[in-house]
Structures are given as C-alpha cells and as structure tokens.
Symmetry: C2
Subunit: 232 residues, 2 copies
Amino acid sequence: MATPPAIELLQQTSLTTLVQRELERRILGGELVPGAKLIEAEIAAELGVSRGPVREAFRALEQASLVRTEKNRGVFVRQVSLEEANEIYEVRAALEGLIGRLAARRIRPEQVEKIRAVVKKMHAVGRRGGQPGDAIAYYPLNVEFHGLLVEAARNRALQAYYRRIVNELDLYRRETIARSAENIPVSTRDHEAIVNAVAKGDEKLAERLLYEHVIESRERLHRALAKPARAA
Amino acid sequence: MATPPAIELLQQTSLTTLVQRELERRILGGELVPGAKLIEAEIAAELGVSRGPVREAFRALEQASLVRTEKNRGVFVRQVSLEEANEIYEVRAALEGLIGRLAARRIRPEQVEKIRAVVKKMHAVGRRGGQPGDAIAYYPLNVEFHGLLVEAARNRALQAYYRRIVNELDLYRRETIARSAENIPVSTRDHEAIVNAVAKGDEKLAERLLYEHVIESRERLHRALAKPARAA
DNA sequence: ATTCAGTAGATTGTTGACAATCTACAATCA
DNA sequence: TGATTGTAGATTGTCAACAATCTACTGAAT
C-alpha cells in the first residue's frame, strides 16, 4: 500500500527542517541580506516554535555555508567576498564542465526538447530589448536552463554539489546587488550553442562551452561591479 | 594584542562543535561503521553533555552527508552504495583535475619539495613489497599527497569541497571493507608523474594525470571488490 | 572631552523535563 | 500455528527555564 503524500510529509518533516527551509528561502530570496543577524528567539516566535529547532536549523545552514556562526555573538547571513566568489567560480566552472560532458553523454530526446523550449523563451525576453524587468524575467529562465542540464547529467552527487555552489554564488550576487547587471540576456547565444553540443552528444565541446560560459559570466559580473552603482 | 590560542579555542568552541568533531572522527576512523545507529542519550552520556548539543551536531553531520536522519526513528551513519560511489568518483575526478591545473599554476618551490618528500616515502613503502601493514603505512601518505596538492592550488572553496567529497568516498571504502585493497601502492608512479607535471607548471598535463589517477583508482577499487573478500 | 569601570538588558549556551512516537514482546484470538 | 492486538520500555521531538556571555549605556574620574 502506497503512503498518502500528506501522511508522508508529516512523517518526514520535523520542525527543524521546516525552519531550515524557511530560512533558506528568505536568504536565497533576498529577504535576509548578507551580514544580517538572525536572532534565535525572534525567529522562534515568528514561526511559532521554540528555540531548539531554530538552533538545529542554524547548524544545518552553517554547514551549507549559508550562515556564519560566532560563538556567544550570534548567527549571520554569510557574506561572500570578491576573492571568495572568484574561487567559487573556478570550482563551479569545473563542475559545469562535467555537467556538459555527462549531459552530452546521457541526455534523452525529451529533455533536449524541454531545454530548447527554455532557450526559446529566453530569446523572447531578449528580443524585447532592454526593458525594465527583463532581468527579472530572464533570471529564472537561466536557473531553469542550468537546472535541466544538471538533471540530464544524471548524477545525484553532482546535482547536490552543483546546487550548493550555485547557492553560494547567489549569496555573492545579493551582497553586491549586482543582480540586474549579471542577468542581462547577452548569453542566449551561448545557451543555444550549449544545447546543440549536448544534443549532438559532443562531450568535449559541451564541456568546453559550459566551462567558458561560467568564466564569461564571472567576467561579466566583475565588469558590472567595476562600474559605479546605478540607482536601485 | 594577539589572543592566546587557548583562549581563542574556548571562545570559538561550543559543545556542539566538540560533539560534531568527535563523531566525525569516529565515523571517518571506522569506529562507527555505515548503517550504525547513533543514539542521542547514549552519546550525550558518554561525552558528558546533554542531548541538545548532540542533536545540533547531528544536523551538521547530516548536512555534511556523513549521517542520515529518519524522523522519530533515529540517526544512522550513512551508507554509500556502489552506484553513489561511482557518481561521487565522477565529481571527484573533475575536482582533482581542477586541483592539478591550479596547483601547476600556483605551486611554490618549497611546496614542491614537500610533496616530493612524501612521494619518496611512498617509494620506500612500495619497495618493501607486499608486506602486511604496507597498506596501513601507505594510506596516510596518499592522503597527505593529495592534501598538499589541494593546498598548493590555493583555493579555499575548492579545498572545502574536496575535503567533503573525500569524506564521502571514505564512507564507501569503509562500507565495503575494501580498505587494504584500495591502498595497494601501485600508483606511486602516477604520483611521480603528477609532481613533475605540477612542478613544470604544465597545467594541461597535471589536470589530465590527476583526472585519470582518480578514474584509475576507482577501477582498482571495483576490481578489488569483484574478487571474493579475503580473510580480514 | 575622553576614557574607563560598572551595570542592566538582551542574547546565546546548556540543561532537564515532558509529550509523541516507535520497537519489541507478550497475550489473545482465529 | 499464525496473525493480531495490546501493552511497557526505549528513543526521539519539543519546550521552557536557568546560566553564561555579550552589548549598550550610564556616570565617575582624569
């Protein structure tokens, strides 16, 4: 007998996981900015739980490098410096290269179609030209694109590491408020070339393209940061 | 005024981190085997703390994928299947390749010397031939070799991810009791070639050699597992 | 004015107790 | 015999209280 989903949820979900997910959402969603202090009692009261589960969630988030803990001082949303971001980008590029290689080897036709559909939507956004809000529309498409790719690579460990590293970099973007700058849809051509390489099963090419894609987006981000900050 | 190390330790170390470190030690040291159940009260009593810190440590270890938690059932040392190990090896190979590339680019002369010294010791162990205990002597040297390399790559994020992945694979070795088989010092020649490539600053070569080194050691492990288990 | 010690409040670290859930075994019934 | 129900003990999930530490402020002394 299959367990109903509602029951399963209750069986698997503790208050700690709930708190953890909620805090994760707030951090990655920008509600909690890097450097912000997380006060146990405050969060506990807000979510209607005691401090125990909150503390446990903190420990998990710390290990996921989303927060930093100072003993007797408190827990803070992690701040990623430029140097750290550069290091993380290096790792991400390598992982992304592996994703390209494996995806080219293992992707299935229907997955190719799904990704092509996303690229098509990206094109649509890109054609509108620099309208305000384009970056906001473009960002989730970009996330979906890379998400579908890593799924096609069919490697759970890789997927887990990839998610983690993307989260870390997200933290950096938040900190620099370079969000809009990074998301200018200039890389749609990149994406098209990547899909083609993957669809053809050209492992070497897919690996190289994805690797370079990451390095480029790093450069693009840096250039955006070098410019004086525009009005928010 | 510089803070004395003893004070600093007390300032930074909470019971939770202490418990976490101790459990990590026991898991990676083989004292706690994959699948073993960790009972909160038992560990708490043994370490002389209450259950709170133990639970927090569990959450951290879970996020580090060293243990698996089942709600209301308990916490267990994680078991890594053959399929998972294969996936993890793929990721490790990519990371190791990056390590080679970066180390070749950034290593300093004194670091080269240190690594060469380790390889020399490996040779010494290797020349003794298949004496019992060789694997035990070889293993820490191998760990040190790779540890020095990742240090030479000068990328903290990479180092963190690398440590994590090595731990995960360690779990797999423990589970299969393939320890001795994996540590046969057949790869000393590999190591020599790797040091040379890194010392020369040949990024491409170092990357390729390290990548293949990991893939080979995976194959070696699999071959060892295919053989019937020898007497412990 | 500036520095310093001292204090009150806020916040974190740790603990023990209680409630909810699971596990293993005994008793019951078909 | 075998399956099922029902308990008792063990274990986990959650909470509230206490202790330790930090922070911000006050006021005195230089």
